[in-house]
């Protein structure tokens, strides 16, 4: 009897939809989408460049390429290892300097990008390493230059893997935006924390979670579709 009562009260806690301000939910959703979209685009570009540098300089013998490889490698390893919630706090002075603010969605971007780009750079490096060496040799035998190799062989031939990588990265970025929300970046994480946790409105948390899940599923769906559309192997 008692237990039934408890279950009932839990259920009512999760179904107090009058607690939810749909206006604020909409704003929070837009903020999350904004943070995710901008950071995905910048992480994609930065990660691709870093990944290419890592791959290209990996086996070179000259002092410059060894130095470049070491530098990028150390940068990547450090930023990939710092827990996101700590990184965001650590970067506050840096963020304040470049964004002129330490709250709001834009203020979350430096930390989002700096933590996800190194992770994605490693994924890109792995994708590039999987390109058939024979195809590279064929392109070299046809007289392709370094840049032609990169843009006409390496990237197109590893594109499905590069896209799958950015899909995974985008999904973890959605998670990071929620964490950033807790310390004032706005978005669905912020909503769930401020209204769901601090005001004990479990329904708000539930709804915010549902929206985040929808965002993640949509990203996964788009990523999968895109990969299978371009993968002609």
């Amino acid at each position: 009897m008692n237990r039934l009562l408890t279950v009932g009260s839990i259920l009512t806690e999760y179904t107090n939809f009058e607690d939810v301000s749909w206006d604020r939910l909409w704003t929070a959703t837009l903020q999350t989408l904004y943070m995710t979209a901008i950071s995905v685009v910048l992480v994609f570009l930065l990660g691709l460049i870093l990944g290419l540098i890592l791959y290209e300089t990996r086996h070179h013998q000259t002092i410059w390429s060894v130095a470049l490889y070491k530098a990028v490698s150390v940068f990547v390893n450090i930023f990939r290892s710092i827990p996101f919630i700590i990184l965001i706090v650590l970067l506050i002075p840096f963020t304040r300097a470049i964004v002129q603010s330490m709250t709001g969605p834009t203020a979350a971007l430096p930390a989002l990008i700096l933590s996800a780009a190194p992770f994605y750079a490693r994924l890109v490096e792995t994708s590039l390493r999987e390109v058939d060496k024979g195809v590279i040799e064929a392109a070299e035998a046809m007289g392709a230059s370094k840049w032609e190799l990169i843009f006409k062989v390496y990237i197109p031939e590893s594109l499905p893997s590069i896209i799958a990588g950015i899909t995974v990265t985008a999904i973890s970025l959605v998670g990071y935006t929620a964490m950033a929300g807790v310390i004032g970046a706005g978005g669905l994480g912020n909503l769930a924390y401020l209204e769901g946790f601090q005001r004990r409105q479990a329904t708000v948390t539930l709804v915010a979670t549902a929206v985040i899940l929808v965002i993640v599923f949509v990203i996964q769906f788009i990523g999968d579709r895109w990969v299978s559309a371009i993968d002609k192997r």
Binding site: A138, A141, G143, S145, E157
Partner: protein, 343 residues
């Protein structure tokens, strides 16, 4: 057309020097099909890659069309490579591009404009017999079709030279013949000099004009294909030729054993005919002259690039004296005679 003068290529592997190609000199004529045969690790792959500068020689000179490759800068070398086509054992097509786009690829690198690219690529795709497949992706093609695309791609920039790296080794016998036929046609019609490396003597026999046998980085024997097949000098060459001959097939060897048991006094000879004398009535004449019976065990005709080549395995019955006499008699004809020994 292609000249190698005292070319050596050394690699450093785990701090140990390894000479892949040692002091090699070759002269390849314009319009010929030149075969380099050898086991894996013989250095033939490295030798081929020296010809388009994918490997730079440690010492020696390489001239293509009287232009020396060695002093060229990377940029000049890339330009030069556009006039040297190459095809590969595993085809090495870009999976992300259709047949048409794959053939367009070297033209893109050469800076040909789009309209011309497509036009030229379509011509080549038709030449290799894939006109209906231009929109297909490599994964939708069979091995033979992929190699045809590889050939079309290699010909896109109208090369003077076509390098073939084990181009038929991944193909079944029927497809191998088709691809060899295509290469032969390209050689005739477009007058492209072809250099091919292979470990299959059959390929050399079918399309090459001249052949070099390579072992441990050195060319041990070289000459016109027919001559090398008729009178191989080196053991390794003999081994390669044997592989290609049916004498070596299991069935024939079984049959030989059986016959030796049935006629222990017989001597087994292998006769090699070539070109015009394929039709000569050698057997009946020798039989009459020596008054002995000759048992025909097996006969076959193999075609080479220029002339047919016949092999006949016979057993001469009779005592030692008769056998010897018959052997001498055979040797008076313009054919190659070899006594087939026991294993």
């Amino acid at each position: 057309m292609i000249t190698l003068k005292n070319v050596t290529k050394t690699f450093i592997n785990n701090k140990e020097l390894f000479e892949a190609v040692k002091d090699t000199s070759i002269e390849i004529e314009k319009g010929e099909i030149y075969g380099i045969v050898g086991y894996s690790g013989a250095g033939k792959s490295t030798l081929l890659r020296l010809l388009n500068g994918l490997e730079r020689p440690s010492s020696g000179k390489i001239l293509i069309d009287s232009k020396e490759l060695t002093p060229l800068s990377q940029r000049e070398l890339r330009k030069e490579r556009q006039s040297i086509g190459m095809i590969f054992q595993h085809f090495n097509l870009l999976w992300s591009r259709t047949v048409l786009e794959n053939v367009c690829f070297p033209l893109e690198l050469a800076g040909v404009n789009k309209e011309e690219r497509v036009e030229r690529a379509r011509e080549l795709i038709a030449l290799v017999g894939l006109a209906d497949k231009e929109k297909a992706y490599p994964s939708q093609l069979s091995g033979g079709e992929k190699q045809r695309v590889g050939i079309a791609r290699a010909l896109a920039n109208e090369p003077k030279v076509l390098l073939c790296d084990e181009a038929t080794s991944a193909l079944d016998p029927q497809t191998t013949d088709e691809v060899l036929e295509l290469l032969s046609k390209i050689n005739r019609e477009l007058n492209v000099t072809i250099v091919l490396i292979t470990h299959e003597m059959e390929v050399v026999r079918k399309i090459c004009d001249r052949v070099a046998v390579m072992n441990k980085g050195v060319i041990v024997e070289e000459g016109p294909v027919l001559q090398v097949f008729k009178q191989p000098q080196e053991d390794i060459t003999k081994r390669f030729i044997k592989q290609d001959r049916e004498v070596d097939s299991k069935e024939t060897r079984q049959a030989l054993k059986g016959l030796k048991k049935a006629y222990p006094e017989g001597q087994i000879l292998q006769l090699l005919f070539q070109g015009d004398n394929v039709g000569a009535p050698v057997i009946t004449q020798v039989s009459r002259q020596c008054d002995c019976d000759i048992n025909i065990i097996q006969g076959s005709i193999q075609s080479t690039h220029n002339t047919p080549m016949g092999t006949l395995i016979v057993q001469v019955l009779g005592n030692k004296e008769t056998q010897q006499k018959a052997l001498e008699q055979f040797k008076t004809y313009p054919i190659e005679v070899e006594v087939v020994e026991d294993e």
